[in-house]
């Protein structure tokens, strides 16, 4: 507390003193604070950009109107080249005003005076002006998988070295509609290639100069092995592939089967991608299906299959009779098919043919078809399996009966002895 006899205005001085003391303390501590503060990367002294939108009124009067341009004596054939869309004023660069980039005198109505000191292309004559704002230019665009030459260009600009590339070469007329900052405008690679060719820029054939390939296959493949277009990445030619890509397989994208980005994860079997929708058969889908069409190829097989000419009941094990050899072997193209797939295509014969004309339990036959139908040939029957022809001929000859071949059932319709 201040002594009673001190003037009342002393607190005023004390307050101001304390405020200044705080500031002094801050300023004394400033070197320490500055030492602690991250030191900005020194950059060359930047020229000041005039914030010149209000200073560009006369530019706008002429260059926003074709009629005004022609009235000012502009060449009608070239008027459109210098006609500016008023909407460009609302782009980030357009807001800076015409004279910021193009110089001249934007408040002077006289055309010749207004164009004194005109800068046609700022990025050609004063490229460092672009770098006032665009300081941290990326070396890569990871989302587009592109490398940029920004580093070399910026270094050249700051060093004042000659540089064959200007900002506007790639970024166009940024103040006049084309605004790459928004990312809405995508250049075709042809634009780059044409420019590179004009300027004899080396490394044109080396894709990785500009592109950051997503596939880790450089040891075995070149980009051109698959990619055939400079316009679109997804235009590819399947010049190399472990298995032929035909039918519907030829029409799908690489990464509908392969894992992005390195093509791994495939054993080149159908089950890599397809899930068997039925319980019969095995994972060797190609036994019945083709890439031309999963369903259509199977339906074609079914349509072409013959019916089973004998009852199936009790004979479900088809391969027991229809082996790869024997009387009625399976066709060559059926090899590998499993037993449970036969009836998927081959339907059982109609019931009418199932009425057997001869007792199937004849003398202990017990339904064993092959006894009478060797090789499962149901178009004929043969009694000779049990009844030796020589013996039968002798017995029948003794009774004066000849010509018995294939006529057994004429006299023995039920297999009985006469």
């Amino acid at each position: 507390m201040l002594p009673e006899h001190w003037p009342r205005w002393v607190p005023i001085l004390i307050s101001i003193f304390l405020a200044l003391l705080a500031i002094g303390l801050g300023l004394v501590l400033e070197p320490a604070a500055q030492a602690l503060r991250p030191q900005p990367t020194p950059t060359p002294t930047l020229p000041a950009i005039p914030y010149a939108r209000p200073l560009s009124g006369e530019c706008e009067k002429c260059h926003f109107s074709r009629e005004a341009l022609l009235a000012s004596g502009a060449d009608p054939a070239r008027a459109d080249e210098v006609l500016i869309d008023p909407a460009s004023l609302w782009t980030p660069h357009g807001r800076l005003g015409c004279v910021t980039c193009h110089g001249g005198k934007g408040q002077v109505a006289d055309k010749d005076q207004a164009h004194e000191g005109l800068i046609q292309d700022l990025t050609d004559q004063y490229p460092q002006d672009c770098l006032i704002c665009h300081r941290n230019l990326p070396a890569e665009f990871p989302e587009d998988r592109l490398r940029t030459p920004h580093g070399a260009i910026v270094d050249a600009v700051w060093e004042g070295s000659p540089c064959a590339v200007h900002c506007s070469d790639c970024h166009g007329q940024v103040g006049h509609g084309f605004d790459p900052v928004t990312g809405r405008t995508v250049c075709s690679m042809s634009v780059c290639l044409d420019c590179h060719r004009e300027r004899n820029v080396p490394g044109l054939t080396d894709c990785i100069t500009c592109h950051i390939g997503p596939h880790d296959v450089a040891a075995t493949l070149d980009c051109q092995t698959c990619h055939t277009s400079t316009e679109r990445w997804d235009q590819v030619a399947l010049r190399v592939h472990p298995v032929p890509l035909v039918g519907k397989h030829a029409a799908i994208g690489c990464f509908e089967c392969h894992q992005w980005p390195n093509f791994r994860g495939l054993d080149y079997v159908c089950s890599d991608c397809h899930k068997r929708p039925h319980t019969f058969g095995n994972d060797n889908c190609a036994l019945c299906h083709t890439p031309e069409g999963w369903k259509s190829s199977a339906e074609a097989l079914v349509a072409a299959a013959t019916g089973v000419p004998h009852p199936v009941a009790g004979r479900e094990d088809c391969r027991a009779c229809h082996g790869v050899t024997g009387g009625t072997p399976i066709p060559e193209d059926h090899k590998g098919r499993t037993n449970d797939t036969c009836l998927v295509c081959h339907a059982e014969a109609p019931a009418a043919t199932a009425e057997h004309p001869f007792p199937q339990d004849h003398d202990g036959a017990a339904g064993n078809c092959v006894l009478c139908h060797p090789g499962n040939d149901f178009s004929a029957y043969n009694c000779e399996t049990c009844h030796a022809p020589s013996g039968m001929a002798e017995v029948h000859a003794a009774r004066g009966i000849s010509e018995i071949a294939n006529r057994c059932t004429l006299c023995h319709p039920q297999g009985e002895k006469p």
Binding site: M1, L2, R8, W9, V10, P11, I12, I14, S15, I16, L18, A19, A22, I23, L25, G26, L27, E30, A33, L36, R37, P38, P40, T41, C133, H134, R135, N136, V181
Partner: protein, 311 residues
């Protein structure tokens, strides 16, 4: 890379502008509520009326000199009065009106405390009346000035928050933070420091004073937290700025000077003072000094850590 253009001069301007506005608002509140007239001598209104003018004027001079043109072509400052879409124009109008108002309020308060000033002035300005209705004059000056004081305090935050190129600043939280901080530093200087030094513990005069202190300190802490949280959530340059403050090279200043001495210790001190209904002289001064110095460093940290977006 943090922005290299604004440094201590701007931070000091923001600090002086905010603290001056806060002092004015505290004095105006004491004047308007009649608390000033309950004691023979009220250092709160005397300091709060006379100090803001010089402080804000000094800060404004620093701001003008921080602008390059302020040193080379100071007359260009007048261009700033006509660009009404610019926040700087709003600010320059607020300051242009508020600074004279502060000096006028200070003069009236001094004349009220020292009636001899009017008698002395009448020797040169004979048209002046023998006496002036000081209280009635101040009842007009205080509310009008308070509007401009709030405008000044908010404007110091708006000045930064309109800079879209620096995402950490570009948030509506900043004007609110600077307003609350202005009130807090104003109370710190006007009451904790000056008042305590002049007449002893101020709780004897303003019973709920520690509660107000706690509200403003707590509010300031919440707004600082919100500012940092939003910056971290926004990511990019804003998060980098926040990280620079919290864990970067200036993290020590933030945690020790701003959080410990500027927020935590004063809050605990005032909480104790509110509960015990008393506090020591040294405690009040320490609390006030912490709040004031933290107010300066808070603004410095925010200014210095502004990282512009890369184009």
């Amino acid at each position: 890379m943090s922005q290299p253009h604004w440094g201590w001069l701007v931070a000091i301007y923001l600090f002086l502008g905010g603290m001056g506005a806060g002092c004015f608002l505290v004095a105006a509140a004491v004047e308007w509520t009649g608390e000033r007239y309950k004691h023979a001598f009220c250092p709160t209104t005397l300091v709060g009326a006379t100090v803001p003018g010089p402080l804000i004027a000094l800060g404004t001079v620093l701001l003008i000199f921080d602008l390059g043109a302020g040193k080379m072509e100071p007359w260009r400052i007048f261009y700033m009065f006509t660009h009404f879409r610019s926040a700087m124009t709003w600010g320059i109008w607020i300051l242009t009106l508020f600074i004279p108002l502060c000096f006028l309020y200070g003069l009236v308060e001094l004349m009220h405390v020292y009636p001899g000033i009017l008698a002395w002035a009448r020797r040169w300005l004979a048209f002046l009346p023998e006496d002036l209705p000081y209280r009635r004059i101040k009842r007009i000056l205080c509310p009008v000035g308070s509007v401009f004081a709030v405008g000044t305090a908010v404007y110091t935050g708006v000045l930064l928050s309109v800079v879209r190129a620096i995402p950490f600043w570009n948030t509506p939280v900043l004007p609110f933070l600077f307003l609350v901080s202005a009130l807090s530093t104003g109370m710190g200087l006007n009451i904790d420091l000056s008042g305590t030094i002049a007449v002893g513990p101020m709780e004897r005069r303003f019973r709920n004073l520690p509660l107000y202190h706690m509200v403003f300190i707590g509010g300031e802490a919440l707004l600082i937290g919100l500012l940092l949280l939003l910056a971290f959530l926004r990511g990019g340059a804003a998060a980098q700025s926040a990280q620079m403050i919290v864990t970067g090279p200036t993290g020590l200043i933030f945690w020790v000077v701003v959080v410990l001495f500027g927020l935590l210790i004063p809050f605990l001190f005032h909480a104790y003072a509110y509960g015990a209904r008393q506090h020591s002289l040294a405690g009040g001064i320490l609390s006030g000094a912490g709040i004031v110095i933290a107010g300066l460093f808070l603004r410095y940290l925010i200014v210095a850590s502004g990282i512009p977006v890369a184009l």
